[in-house]
């Protein structure tokens, strides 16, 4: 049955409707004068919607979304894996959901124990000496690490180091985080095998070098084979090594970034450790680091600390979910998760190699990047992605990493069944066949969704980012 295309809530709002009451009125209390005059602008036209209609509205809106509970969400680099229900149940427990960070410590003993255990577990898995949980999301963890790197250099009187080396395969957050801390970003080209080569950074190994940012495995899903050599060279030149931990789900039980040359790394609890993505957050971006950087951590309590990066403890609601996940699996389960993720990704790669062009042939771990080079009739990655929706699949990540033209980046994760993987491959094969036979079908796709291809140009040219009261009359 098709879902009606629910309009925004304001069409249902009406001042005459019943509104929600939290608690019963008390006449004696209501006689108290507040001593200030209340705003009289009608809150810009904000009116309530009846309870039944609110339920209908947000249920119908929700049905216009794709979600991992419905099926495969093969977004490379975003790592959409199953979000266990158990995590949600525990996080919603009032003992955890209603705790206030300013309560006296006795009331928070268990919360603090869970946070310290999570930090300890993340350190154990990653091989770093210490972990600070505070950053609010992966990009925020990156920024925190960049601040710490700056503080480390300054503490050594090394004020001239202003260059961050960033591979062309990096996430956009890497240069953005470096720039927000006043560093200059220098892009490094990946080699023909999709990995960084020491000779390509040689020219930058000087007194200006502050750090290098490396994603490992990188955004092509390839292990950076020269990682340790590059790290050594950077350290010799007086720089530090930041590892982007977005792909840590391919490392658990296999290698420990903290023991192969990285000085600091962020974790995405919402990628590797199954906390939900929630349509764009909240995330959680703890950072792991070695002793050299420990005094500079936001929570070190030492004078060298960069200071707090987020109010209170960070994203507690995400910590407890990740803690539950780690306890549910243990070391053996987490290693198996990595193995299964890599097996699933390589299975997809085998089935799709030849159907789509594989621009870099090197061995891949948890994800694989194809592109649109060989598609007939000027069919692009975007067309392919949109048509895949009609076959009942969310598209993979498109046009990223940016150094691969027309990239289609697929990451199935460990939680998909073989049946689901096969159905996805079959669908992609069918779309590629269609590209030759009926290209128009792809160029106008999707055809089965509540809206067809959206006019993003109009959205940007005539900006409409809020509803106004005039519309409902």
């Amino acid at each position: 049955m098709p879902t009606p295309l629910e309009r925004v809530i304001f069409h249902r709002a009406d001042a005459a409707k019943e509104h929600f009451h939290a608690v019963a009125a008390d006449q004696a209390l209501d006689a108290i004068d507040l001593g200030f005059s209340e705003r009289n602008d009608g809150l810009g036209g904000m009116e309530q919607v009846g309870e039944v209609e609110v339920v209908r509205h947000y249920t119908r809106l929700s049905l216009l979304n794709w979600d991992i509970d419905r099926g495969l969400y093969p977004l490379g680099s975003c790592t959409m894996k199953h979000n266990p229900r158990l995590n949600e149940r525990v996080a919603a427990d009032p003992a955890y959901a209603d705790a206030h960070p300013e309560w006296p410590a006795t009331y928070l003993a268990q919360h603090k124990r869970i946070m310290s255990e999570l930090a300890h577990d993340l350190a154990t898995l990653s091989g770093f000496d210490k972990v600070c949980l505070q950053p609010a999301a992966g990009a925020h963890g990156e920024l925190t690490a960049v601040f710490m790197i700056r503080a480390w250099h300054l503490s050594r009187g090394d004020t001239k180091r202003d260059v961050f080396l960033i591979p062309d395969s990096a996430h956009g957050t890497n240069p953005a985080s470096a720039a927000m801390s006043g560093f200059r970003c220098v892009q490094v080209k990946s080699g023909p095998n999709g990995t960084l080569r020491i000779e390509d950074i040689q020219a930058h190994l000087n007194e200006r070098l502050a750090a290098i940012m490396i994603t490992n495995p990188n955004t092509l899903g390839i292990y950076e084979t020269q990682f340790s050599d590059i790290a050594d060279a950077v350290h010799k030149a007086g720089g530090l090594v930041y590892m982007d931990g977005a792909n840590f789900n391919a490392a658990m039980g296999v290698f420990q970034p903290g023991r192969i040359g990285a000085d600091v790394m962020h974790f995405n609890l919402h990628k590797t450790f199954t906390t939900p993505h929630g349509g764009g957050g909240p995330g959680s971006g703890p950072i792991g680091f070695n002793e050299n950087l420990a005094p500079f951590a936001p929570d070190s309590g030492l004078p060298q600390s960069i200071g707090r990066v987020k109010a209170w403890f960070g994203q507690w609601g995400m910590y407890i979910r990740a803690w539950v996940y780690i306890r549910s699996l243990g070391s053996s389960g987490l290693s198996e998760a990595t193995e299964q993720a890599v097996l699933n990704a390589n299975y997809l790669r085998s089935r799709l190699d030849g159907v789509l062009n594989l621009p870099v042939k090197a061995a891949t771990l948890h994800e694989v990047v194809f592109n649109d080079r060989d598609l007939p009739n000027k069919i692009t990655t975007l067309d392919l992605a949109k048509r895949l929706i009609d076959f009942g699949f969310h598209p993979p990540t498109v046009y990223f990493p940016i150094h691969v033209p027309g990239a289609l980046m697929i990451e199935p994760t460990e939680t998909e069944s073989l049946d689901e993987l096969d159905r996805f491959c079959d669908a992609l094969c069918a779309v590629v066949t269609e590209a030759a036979e009926d290209p128009e079908r792809l160029k106008t796709a999707p055809h089965t969704t509540c809206v067809s291809r959206v006019d993003e140009v109009l959205a940007a040219r005539s900006l409409d980012v809020r509803w106004t009261a005039a519309e409902c009359g």
Binding site: Y58, Q110, G307
Partner: protein, 435 residues
């Protein structure tokens, strides 16, 4: 492994398709020297029942009464909010990069932007920030982008101390000087004690209202030409108090349907004028049409964001706080203007009734400026009272020793306390008279 969906036989078939004999072969690209050698392991696997029982055993009973705010406020959360926001389609979806299969989330963000614009009285809002503390920082960073030649920000000393710490961290790495504006020790209002030129030459003048001592501020004392940022940490106050005129109004939405959960995750908000939209941080959703002219929504002005503009982006933010934004939107829809105002009035009246009771037993309010639902009380007339109450599981506000205000407590009440006022007051009086 609990969350794996393949059998050993299937795994063998997959290996055969790939053409390798074992899973280990797939990791050959990882050099031997880099392999994990540590024997340290994490606890588990624990079955669900065992894990839950262990958690249960470690629980500590919460305080019976906690009149504690300080930037996070416990308001009543309707069952409808919890239930709707637990739907898989909200919880387990990703950032809406593919608009055709994300119209639900996109519409929700558009509603969020509208509600925040209405509450703040600003022209537009972004799709949310991590939390209030980082929203406050992003406001200053935006002001700095608009005024690149300035390097000093004037900040009220009555800004939430957590926010101030976060702001100081970021500003240090921007080489920006944070200059504190003191507050009046009798009224609790921020004192704008610098001349008009200094204000105009600063990146911004930043105030919180109600401020960290609960006192309602205004921006009338700020010189024309200054870039005004107003921070709001108790969003319920917006139902009754329109934020004072400012270039940016930002802060924390936790009060609108989001549990306190130890301070995170919550949702930050950021509202400003249309003219600044291209300098604004964070995600933005716009309304447009599809190929057939049907109303549709998509992420817009993405060229400001890190995944396109990289080192020149307005912010490095990628993931924000979508699910928490949803909670605030569902909450706001249920209550609307009238419901929010009812909650706000009940909170404000509970606070006033409680303050009156404290005054009856000889305590004094520290600042004379008007307040919303949170106030500072000087307990020196009854120095033992707070400790006695605490021993009985009753937290009489947040101690302010660290603010240089010994024996002072920051007391917050909401509509949760409103139906219990008689009992709370009786309990306080009983303890007071016993001392």
């Amino acid at each position: 492994m609990r969350y794996s969906a393949t059998t050993p036989n299937e795994r063998q078939r997959m290996l055969d398709t790939i053409g390798v004999s074992s899973v280990a072969d797939l990791f050959q690209s990882v050099p031997e020297a880099a392999r994990t050698r540590s024997a340290a392991s994490v606890l588990g696997p624990l079955p669900e029942g065992t894990l839950l029982a262990e958690l249960e055993a470690g629980k500590v009973a919460p305080p019976r009464v906690a009149l504690i705010g300080g930037g996070l406020y416990r308001h009543f959360i309707p069952a409808t909010v919890d239930s709707l926001c637990a739907r898989s389609e909200w919880v387990t979806s990703y950032t809406p990069y593919q608009p055709e299969v994300s119209q639900g989330t996109l519409r929700m963000y558009y509603e969020f932007q509208t509600y925040v614009s209405m509450l703040t009285g600003q022209e537009l809002s972004n799709g949310g920030m991590y939390d209030g503390s980082t929203a406050c920082v992003e406001a200053v960073l935006m002001a700095k982008r608009l005024r690149p030649k300035t390097n000093r920000v004037l900040v009220s000393a009555a800004l939430n101390p957590q926010y101030l710490e976060v702001l100081r961290t970021y500003m240090r790495f921007q080489n920006v000087e944070v200059v504190l504006l003191p507050f009046d020790r009798s009224t609790g209002h921020t004192l704008i004690n610098v001349d008009a030129q200094t204000q105009a030459d600063a990146i911004a003048v930043l105030l919180q209202s109600p401020n960290t001592y609960g006192v309602i501020e205004d921006t009338a004392g700020i010189a024309p030409g200054a870039f005004r940022i107003v921070v709001v940490t108790e969003a319920q106050s917006l139902a009754l108090l329109k934020p004072p005129p400012a270039e940016v109004v930002c802060g924390e939405l936790q009060s609108l349907g989001i549990p306190v959960q130890l301070g995170g995750p919550t949702a930050g908000f950021f509202a400003t004028r249309r003219e600044f939209v291209r300098s604004m941080p964070g995600r933005l959703v716009g309304r447009t049409v599809d190929r057939h002219g049907t109303e549709a929504f998509c992420i817009t002005l993405a060229t400001r964001e890190q995944f396109i503009r990289r080192e020149k982006a307005t912010s490095n933010i990628c993931t924000s706080s979508g699910l928490m934004c949803l909670r605030s939107v569902v909450y706001t829809s249920l209550l609307g203007r009238k419901g929010l105002q009812e909650v706000a009035r009940q909170s404000a009246r509970a606070a006033r009734a409680f303050l009156a009771a404290l005054e009856e037993i000889g305590l004094k309010r520290a600042f004379s400026g008007n307040f919303f639902n949170e106030f500072v009380v000087d307990c020196s007339a009854r120095p033992e009272l707070a400790r006695r109450l605490e021993a009985a599981g009753f937290l009489l506000g947040l101690p302010l020793e660290a603010h240089g205000l010994p024996h002072h407590r920051l007391v917050a009440l909401t509509e949760i306390e409103y139906p219990k006022m008689a009992a709370l007051i009786k309990e306080v009086k009983t303890h007071a008279h016993a001392s």
